[in-house]
C-alpha cells in the first residue's frame, strides 16, 4: 500500500544530499570568520558560500522534504494511490534542474546576492530562473495535494479528513499564496534587470514583495515538523493525541496568520510606514498562538504516554517516558529549541525591542535555532520514521540514531546560543570578516570560537545522519509493517465543517494579505523616482 515509494525516496535523497553540501559550507563559513583559522582572504568567496548555503537550506531542502512527506501522507493517511504520479515526477525533475541551475552561477561567482536577493544587487539571470523552477515545481505539488484531497473527499463524503492530510494541504495552500510575493519580485523587478531590459530597480518595493514570502515561508518549512509532532510523536512514544480539533485549529491559525506579518522583517526600512509596521507586529504576535496551542497539546499528549506507562504524580510521568526511544528524544530536543527560539522570536517581532537586535548575529542565531534546530531535527525524525516504509528495511541502529540526534541538539545549541550573545554585544550579521584583535571585539572572540566548534559538531551529526540512512537502505529486508498515524484520545468521527475544509481560512488569509500589504505596495507603485540603478554582481574584471 505504498506506491510512490521511489518518488518519496528521490525527494528525500536529493533534499539530504543538498543539505549535507550546504551544511559543510555553513561550517566552513563559521570556521573562516572565527579566530581559529586565518581569514579566507577574499570576501567574495565567503558570500558565494553564504548564497549557496542559504539558497539550498531555504529553498531546495525544505521544499523537497515537504513535497516528499506530502506524497507519503497521501498514500499513508488517505490510503489511496497518489493521483498524478507523472506530474509529481515532472515537478521533482524541475526542482532538481532548478537547484543545479541556480547553484552553477553561484559557484562561478555570478550571483553572490544571498538567498534573499537583496536588490539593487543583480546576479546572473540563471540563478533567479533556477529559483523560479524550484518554486514552480513546488506549485505542481500544491495542485497535486489539492487534487488528491478532492479525490478522497469525493470517495469519502462527510468523513473527517485525516489530520496529517488536513495539515499537509494547509501547508500547501499557505505555500502557494506566500510564494506569490517572491514570484512577483523576481518576475517584475529582478528578471527585467537581469536580462538587461531595464537598468533600474525599485529596491524598496522589491523588499516589501520579498517580505510577503519571507516570513510565511518559515511556516511552510515548519508544517512538516508540526505534522510530525501531532501525528507521529504520540503514536511512536505510546501515547494518544490529546486533541484532534486543537491540532486542526493550530494549522488553520498558521494558514490565516502566517501571511500578513512579513513587514516585521522591514522594521528598519524607511519605505514602509510605521503604522503598517505596527500592524504586522500585532499579527506576528497572533502567529505565536498556534505554536503555544501546539506546545500545550503535545505536552498533554506526551503526559498521556507517561501516565499510560505507569507514571504517577505531578512529575512522575516525566521519568516514566520512553527516553530510549529516538522519537521521545527528538520531541524533547525540538521543544527546547522551539521554546528558546520562540522566545527570541517574540523579541524580534516587537517593534521597539527589534531595534536592539536588528541585523545582528542575534537574528542569525534565532533562525538557526528555530529552523536548523527545532524543525530540521524533526525532518530527521520524519526520515527515520518513513525509512522502513520506503526501503522495506529497518533502521540500522537505534543507538546511532540517538547519538545523531544528541549531536545535532548539542551542536545547534553550541552554535546558536553564542550567536545570540555576540548579537547582543553588537556583532553585525552578514559580515565576511571580523577583526578580533580590535579592543571592542576581543570579548567576542571566545564565543565566536565556541560557536564554530558547534558547527563542527553539526557536521558530524549530518554525516552520521546520511550514514544511518545509507546503511539502513542497504540492510536486510524485513517484514513490512503497516504504517499508523497517532490516534486521538477521542475518536474522530465527526468534525465541524469549518475544521474539515479550507475555504473560509484561505479567504481570511487572502483578505488579511490585502489589508496588510495593499497600501504599502500600491503607494510605492504610485510614488515617482523610487527606482535606483542596479548593482551588478560578478561583473568581469
Amino acid at each position: 500500500m505504498f506506491h510512490a515509494k521511489r518518488l518519496v525516496l528521490a525527494h528525500f535523497w536529493l533534499a539530504f544530499i543538498a543539505f549535507l553540501i550546504a551544511l559543510l559550507l555553513g561550517a566552513w563559513q563559521m570556521l573562516v570568520r572565527s579566530p581559529f583559522l586565518p581569514w579566507v582572504g577574499d570576501p567574495e568567496l565567503y558570500y558565494r558560500s553564504v548564497t549557496a548555503h542559504g539558497s539550498v537550506m531555504a529553498y531546495v531542502m525544505p521544499t523537497l522534504v515537504s513535497m516528499g512527506f506530502g506524497y507519503a501522507i497521501v498514500e499513508l493517511a488517505l490510503a489511496q494511490r497518489l493521483v498524478g504520479l507523472k506530474w509529481a515526477w515532472a515537478a521533482f525533475i524541475m526542482l532538481a534542474v532548478g537547484a543545479v541551475m541556480a547553484m552553477v552561477p553561484v559557484a562561478l561567482g555570478q550571483a553572490s546576492v544571498l538567498y534573499t536577493f537583496y536588490p539593487p544587487m543583480i546576479g546572473s539571470p540563471f540563478y533567479y530562473l533556477g529559483v523560479v523552477l524550484v518554486v514552480v515545481g513546488s506549485w505542481i505539488w500544491v495542485a497535486l495535494m489539492h487534487v488528491n484531497l478532492r479525490v478522497w473527499k469525493r470517495a469519502n463524503p462527510g468523513k473527517p479528513v485525516p489530520l496529517a492530510m488536513f495539515a499537509n494541504v494547509a501547508g500547501a495552500y499557505l505555500w502557494a499564496w506566500t510564494a506569490v510575493g517572491a514570484a512577483l519580485e523576481i518576475l517584475f523587478q529582478i528578471l527585467p534587470v537581469a536580462f538587461g531590459l531595464t537598468n533600474t530597480i525599485d529596491a524598496g518595493l522589491s523588499r516589501i514583495l520579498f517580505s510577503w514570502t519571507l516570513h510565511a515561508i518559515v511556516y511552510f518549512w515548519l508544517i512538516p515538523a508540526y505534522i510530525a509532532y501531532y501525528t507521529l510523536v504520540p503514536r511512536a512514544i505510546g501515547g494518544r493525541l490529546y486533541s484532534d480539533s486543537m491540532a486542526r485549529v493550530s494549522f488553520i491559525l498558521f494558514l490565516v496568520f502566517a501571511m500578513p506579518i512579513g513587514i516585521h522583517h522591514l522594521f528598519a526600512d524607511p519605505q514602509v510606514g510605521s503604522g503598517f509596521k505596527f500592524l504586522h507586529a500585532v499579527f506576528t504576535g497572533m502567529v505565536s498562538v498556534p505554536t503555544l496551542l501546539t506546545v500545550f497539546t503535545i505536552c498533554a499528549s506526551v503526559e498521556i504516554a507517561g501516565r499510560l506507562r505507569g507514571g504517577k504524580g505531578a512529575f512522575g510521568w516525566l521519568t516514566a517516558l520512553p527516553w530510549q526511544n529516538p522519537m521521545m528524544l527528538v520531541i524533547a530536543f525540538s521543544f527546547v529549541m522551539l521554546g528558546l527560539g520562540g522566545a527570541g522570536g517574540l523579541i524580534n517581532m516587537s517593534y521597539q525591542l527589534n531595534s536592539t537586535v536588528h541585523n545582528t548575529q542575534w537574528v542569525t542565531g534565532h533562525f538557526h535555532l528555530i529552523f536548523g534546530g527545532a524543525i530540521v531535527i524533526m525532518y530527521f525524525a520524519i526520515a527515520y520514521e518513513l525509512w522502513p516504509q520506503l526501503t522495506g528495511r529497518a533502521i540500522a541502529s537505534v543507538k546511532l540514531v540517538r547519538t545523531q540526534l544528541w549531536l545535532w541538539f548539542i551542536g545547534m545549541m553550541v552554535v546558536t546560543l553564542p550567536w545570540h550573545y555576540v548579537g547582543l554585544l553588537g556583532a553585525p550579521r552578514r559580515m565576511a570578516y571580523y577583526d578580533y584583535n580590535a579592543l571592542g571585539l576581543q570579548s567576542q572572540a571566545f564565543w565566536v570560537g565556541m560557536s564554530a566548534v558547534g558547527g563542527l559538531i553539526l557536521v558530524a551529526s549530518g554525516v552520521l545522519f546520511i550514514y544511518i540512512l545509507v546503511k539502513s537502505q542497504f540492510g536486510p529486508l524485513v517484514q513490512q509493517q503497516s504504517f499508523r498515524f497517532a490516534s486521538a484520545v477521542q475518536p474522530v468521527d465527526r468534525v465541524p465543517a469549518a475544521l474539515n475544509s479550507f475555504g473560509l481560512w484561505v479567504a481570511l488569509m487572502i483578505g488579511l494579505t490585502v489589508v496588510n500589504y495593499s497600501v504599502p505596495i500600491v503607494q510605492l507603485l504610485r510614488l515617482p523616482q523610487t527606482s535606483v540603478p542596479a548593482v551588478v554582481v560578478g561583473a568581469q574584471r
Binding site: 577574499d42 570576501p43 510606514g273 570578516y433 465543517a497 503607494q523 551588478v536 561583473a539
Partner: protein, 269 residues
Amino acid sequence: MNQERVFSLRNPWFTVSVGGTIAIAVVGILIGFIWLPSASNAFGDRSLWATICSAAGAPSSWYGGANLAGPAPSDVVVLPPLRRARADANSIGRGATIATQNCSMCHGVLGTSQVTAPALAGQYADVVYKELRDYQNGVRQNAIMQPIIAARSDQDLHDLAAYYASLPRAPAAQTLPTGVEPDANAVKLAMQGDPQRNIAPCAACHGQLDRKGAAPWLGGQSSIYLAAQMRAFASGARHNDINEQMRNVARQMTPAEIDSVAKYYAAMQ
C-alpha cells in the same frame, strides 16, 4: 455534516473567526495609525488625517535634502554595465584616432604604464568616461588634462573610453623579485581593510576576483601614480569621489601604508 454551511452567519466558526480577525485588525489599526503616532513627537501637531497618512507611509511632505552644503563633488555617477557592453568598432576606431593624436604622449601609444599618468589599457570604459567628464567640468583638476579635454564633445569622450577599454591590459608595472611575497600589511589592507580605523578593504570597491561597483581596476598602475592619487584624496586636492569614499579611506592611511598598497597594486596585472 455536508449540510453544515461554513459561510453562514449561523455558523459560529464563521462569525467568531471572521469577527475576531476583523476585531484584531481594527484594534491594531487604531493603535498603529492613531494612538501611537499621536503619542510621538516625530509626527508633530498634525491633523488626524495627516497623522494617519504619515503612519501609512505617505507623508504630506518629503525630506528635501536641504541640509547639503556646497557644490556637488561631481555631477557624473557611473555604474558598471549590466551586460558586458560590446563597444562599437567605429567608436573604438574614432577613439584610437583621438588618443594617438592627443593622449599617447603621456599615456603611451598602447595605453600601458607610464610613471605619472595612469595606464589606461583595459580600464573600464565607464570609469575612463567619468574621469574625462570630471576633468572637463573642472571637478578633477590637472594642468595638462583640462586644456586637452576642454573642447571635446561627449561622443569623443565615449569614443576614447571605448578605445582604451578595448586594449589588452599591460603586464604588471613593477614585478616583485621571484620568491618575494607581497607585503603582508598591504594584502591585509587591500583584502580586509582595517575596520577599527574605518578603512574599508580596497577590494570591496575595486574588486579582486570580479568587478565591484564603479571604481577603476588598479592592477598594473605605477606605484608613484597610485600613491600620488591617494595623497591627493587624503589632502582633499582630489575630491571627485561623490560620497567621499576614497577621501575617507585615504585620510586614515599612514604614508607608509599608502606606499605599500600602491606597490601591491603595481605588482598585479
